[in-house]
């Protein structure tokens, strides 16, 4: 059985106090708790501070292009469905340049887990407005305050009927670990948005901010995470500042389970050759 140590690699280069440490920690713990071996984990990540996740999380990494971790991750899973596959990245990466892939990954519903480190800022490029930057916040590209309404990732996920939606906070690693565990276990696309403070460039959405504003749905016994419209209302009312399991549809069938002819054997284990009969069958179609 793997331990946390097995999921550790080089020392992360994040700023001390960066929320991404917590996310890394929770991902590692979730894998350990579920008995997953590091060689069976693959992380595809985009570009950003958060994008360095694939370097810092043990397991195979594909540190890909800005905004494109989801296409990579989906194909990794199809190529070898024995792997536990994460896509990981930032709010700019996932909700800016990568928005189209996000919505389409939800409809396609391949069994991967998408973790967004949502710090409401472009960290790695040193502090520009991101798609989730709040109206009025001053950043290097909005020196007089941002004017565009922020992206509402959880509401979009609900609208597109994503089968598993959770939101976590780097400051609560225990809850985050459990959410990621559930996400991994969900059979289909799972989305975990994490409030992961950027201590260097975002002086508004800080640990303290979240500690004093977050509503924890996991602690609300009356909350039913299986009613999509109810979830929408609740999230909207809390102005998105909620954590917990927001929505789950355990019945929603994954792409792999519905695609006609999806192979039993992982693609990576298929024989590359075609049998004589296989060739003959194909050639017949050309005659």
């Amino acid at each position: 059985m793997a331990t946390i140590q097995d999921f550790k690699t080089e020392k992360p280069t994040w700023c001390p106090g960066c929320g991404d440490f917590g996310v890394l920690n929770a991902m590692q713990k979730a894998c350990v708790n579920l008995g997953i071996e590091p060689e069976n984990v693959a992380v595809a990540s985009g570009i950003g501070c958060s994008g360095k996740m694939s370097q810092h999380m043990g397991g195979y990494g594909l540190h890909a292009l800005h905004g494109r971790s989801l296409p990579n991750a989906q194909a990794i899973k199809l190529a070898n469905d024995k792997l536990t596959v994460f896509a990981a990245g930032g709010d700019g990466d996932g909700f800016g340049i990568g928005m189209g892939h996000f919505i389409h990954a939800m409809r396609r519903n391949i069994d991967i887990t998408y973790i967004v480190m949502d710090n409401h800022i472009y960290g790695l490029t040193t502090g520009q407005a991101s798609p989730t930057t709040e109206v009025g916040m001053k950043t290097k590209t909005s020196p007089k305050g941002a004017v565009e309404q922020p992206i509402a990732p959880v509401q979009l996920a609900l609208a597109q009927n994503c089968g598993f939606i959770a939101q976590g906070f780097s400051g609560n690693i225990k809850q985050l670990t459990s959410l990621i565990e559930k996400a991994i276990q969900h059979k289909g696309f799972s989305f975990v948005n994490v409030f992961s403070p950027c201590v260097t460039f975002n002086k508004v959405n800080t640990y303290d901010f979240y500690k004093s504003h977050l509503v924890n749905l996991d602690e609300d016994e009356s909350y039913d995470a299986h009613d999509r419209i109810l979830a929408m209302r609740r999230v909207a009312e809390a102005n998105n500042i909620v954590v917990g399991l927001i929505y789950e549809d355990p019945e929603r069938a994954s792409f792999e389970s519905t695609l006609p002819g999806f192979p039993e054997t992982p693609l990576v284990e298929e024989d590359l050759s075609i049998s004589e009969e296989g060739y003959e069958e194909i050639l017949a179609t050309f005659r």
Binding site: T9, E10, E37, P38, E39, N40, A42, A44, I47, K52, S54, Q55, G58, G59, Y60, G61, L62, H63, A64, L65, R68, L70, P71, N72, A73, Q74, A75, I76, L78, A79, N80, K82, L83, G100, H101, H104, L259, P260, G261, F262, P263, T265, L267, V268, E270, D271, L272, S273, I274, G278, Y279, E281, I282, L283, F286, R287
Partner: protein, 586 residues
């Protein structure tokens, strides 16, 4: 008796021109002829002129031919548009139920009205005018109507025997009507003998690419629809799942290529297929594959550009982007198959090259190659190999121990370091587009940078592969026709014709443009004092590539075509005669 016949049907898009052509072409193919067919169509769904040209011969043909013996015209536009290519004494059949054709000029062409629609109505449905036209054609080409039964059966069988019978009835009536009313014929040549061991297959470049991918071990295709590449998707969707593969229709081309990268990273041979606009969208990912040394196969079925251009027309104008596209510098291989057989073989081979050199391989075909169907003797299936390149084994990893495997070991002599595959214990690394150290961690120091650049550059430094330059014709010839990709067939015919006219010319053709086959090309050019580079683009991209890589300034002339139509034999021959300024025996 003719060695070959040129037949064409034309009308408005949505009028069934395609299926008429398909039936005639497949019937002739099944009779045993070598058929080459080319569809002219427009980027709209209904209306607009479309035509379907068939050339049938008693030897293999790799071009649809410049001339037409029989033209079936469903409207006057078809007459006007195609008149110029009618042979002397050729015959135009028009549907006299719907219009009265007029001759655009006084060329010696027979204009024969046949009440196609009326006859079809008599058989129960005006839609069968196409079958009547086929019957008329069969009469002119002196075929036996019964020879069409299998095709008609195939085509309409699932609609019931009554439909099959009605269609055959229409065909026979057209046949009879023509024989009763006219006395013109272009008898097809005798059916050629089939050589021992030869098959007789009717294939397109797109289906050949699909088949090549499957045969080459491709098990995942991610693509986004785009003319003229979508047919590759169709072929693969039909066949790949039977062999344990998966096809993904991506949300866009950026997703498609990144999916292909993801699967290749995971050890599965994967590709994407597209055309120009989609290819341009893949430029960033091309760089990722290059930098992360992840195998990747991209097929670009070129169409007429730039931008949306002429989406249903052909061109060879993405060569530059294939060679130079993406910011910064990566190792890549660009193949340009010159026949449908090479579409098959080089697509299969692309996966070997991609895995051997751990870099992207681009296969450039074009609309003409991709969408034209032609009869061939066989696919080179026996030539397909699976060479997976350097893959580290479980045992090697075990011996190394934890954290000791260096995926990007810059010291490997040939620049190619063994890959591990996710799932392998101790094989952990990060594939990435940042500059990196041996295990794939971003580092920025000068030594790592220069050693990794040098590592990657070594990979293709002494590249050798059976693709490259082919030389046909007299090896001492002082004159050369030069081309790449899909024009091989028509250039071969041009060479033969020029030779017949006493002009000593060889034909040098690239089936790989990058790495530029420098040595072979110099060797091929040794005897040459003048070369004519024939390309379907406006700037002479191959010519410029040759200038850059090998010189020959002042030796090369260009014959460029970029109106969207495939180049004709006579265009090449006349350009050659003008360029080569040699005394012509006449």
């Amino acid at each position: 008796m003719h060695e070959q016949i040129g037949w064409k049907v034309g009308g408005k898009q949505g009028e069934g021109i395609d299926s008429t052509g398909d039936i005639y072409a497949i019937a002739l193919h099944r009779m045993g002829y070598y058929v080459f067919s080319y569809r002219h169509f427009m980027s709209l769904i209904k209306g607009g002129h479309t035509n379907y040209k068939i050339r049938a011969a008693n030897r293999i043909v790799r071009h649809h031919g410049d001339t037409t013996h029989v033209l079936i015209a469903f409207d006057q536009t078809t007459v006007d548009y195609n008149w110029h290519e009618m042979v002397d004494g050729g015959v135009v059949i028009y549907d006299s139920t719907s219009f009265t054709a007029t001759k655009p000029d006084d060329a010696n062409v027979n204009l024969c009205g046949v009440p196609l629609t009326e006859i079809a109505k008599e058989c129960g449905n005006p839609i069968m005018k196409n079958m009547v036209a086929i019957g008329v054609s069969a009469a002119i080409n002196k075929f036996n109507p019964d020879d069409f039964i299998p095709v008609v059966q195939d085509k309409f069988g699932k609609k019931g025997q009554a439909v099959v019978d009605a269609n055959m009835d229409a065909l026979r009536r057209g046949y009879a009507y023509f024989n009763e009313n006219f006395n013109i014929s272009f008898p097809a040549p005798p059916v050629p003998e089939r050589a021992e061991g030869d098959d007789h297959l009717y294939v397109s470049g797109n289906s050949s690419v699909g088949f090549g991918a499957l045969a080459g071990g491709c098990r995942l295709l991610a693509a986004y629809p785009i003319t003229p590449a979508t047919e590759i998707m169709y072929w693969v969707i039909e066949h790949l799942p039977k062999h344990g593969g998966v096809v993904l229709q991506a949300e866009d081309e950026i997703a498609a290529v990144n999916m292909a990268i993801g699967a290749n990273f995971t050890g599965v041979r994967a590709m994407t297929s597209t055309s120009g606009p989609g290819f341009s969208l893949m430029m960033e990912a091309l760089g990722l594959a290059g930098m992360s040394e992840t195998p990747l196969v991209i097929v670009d079925v070129q169409r007429s550009g730039p931008s949306t251009g002429l989406p249903t027309k052909t061109e060879q104008s993405d060569l530059n982007e294939a060679i130079y596209g993406t910011h910064g510098e990566i190792q890549r291989i660009v193949l340009t198959p010159k026949t449908v057989e090479e579409c098959f073989l080089l697509t299969a081979e692309a996966f070997n090259l991609a895995e051997t050199y751990q870099c992207p391989v681009i296969v450039l075909t074009d609309l003409y190659m991709g969408m034209s169907y032609q009869s061939i003797d066989k696919f080179p299936v026996a030539a397909v190999e699976h060479r997976r390149g350097k893959l580290i084994t479980e045992q090697e990893l075990k011996d190394l121990g934890v954290y000791e495997y260096h995926r990007y070991n810059p010291e490997v002599k040939d620049g190619i370091s063994p890959r591990s595959i996710p799932g392998q214990k101790n094989g952990r690394y990060v594939a990435l587009g940042n500059e990196h150290n041996g295990i794939g961690i971003e580092v920025e120091d000068l030594e790592t940078r220069t050693s990794q650049v040098a590592k990657r550059q070594r990979k293709l430094a002494n590249f050798q592969h059976f693709t490259g330059v082919s030389v046909d014709g007299d090896s001492d010839a002082p004159l050369a026709l030069i081309g790449f990709g899909s024009t091989w067939g028509v250039l071969e015919e041009a060479r033969e014709e020029l030779e017949e006219q006493g002009i000593k010319v060889k034909h040098i053709h690239f089936s790989r443009v990058f790495p530029f086959p420098e040595t072979e090309f110099h060797a091929a050019m040794e005897s040459v004092t003048q070369g004519l580079v024939v390309e379907l683009n406006t700037t002479g991209q191959l010519t410029e590539l040759i200038h850059k890589s090998a010189g020959y300034h002042g030796v090369l002339e260009k014959c460029l075509k970029y109106d969207g139509d495939p180049i004709g034999l006579s265009e090449i021959v006349s350009a050659a005669k003008k360029t080569f300024k040699v005394g012509v025996h006449s």
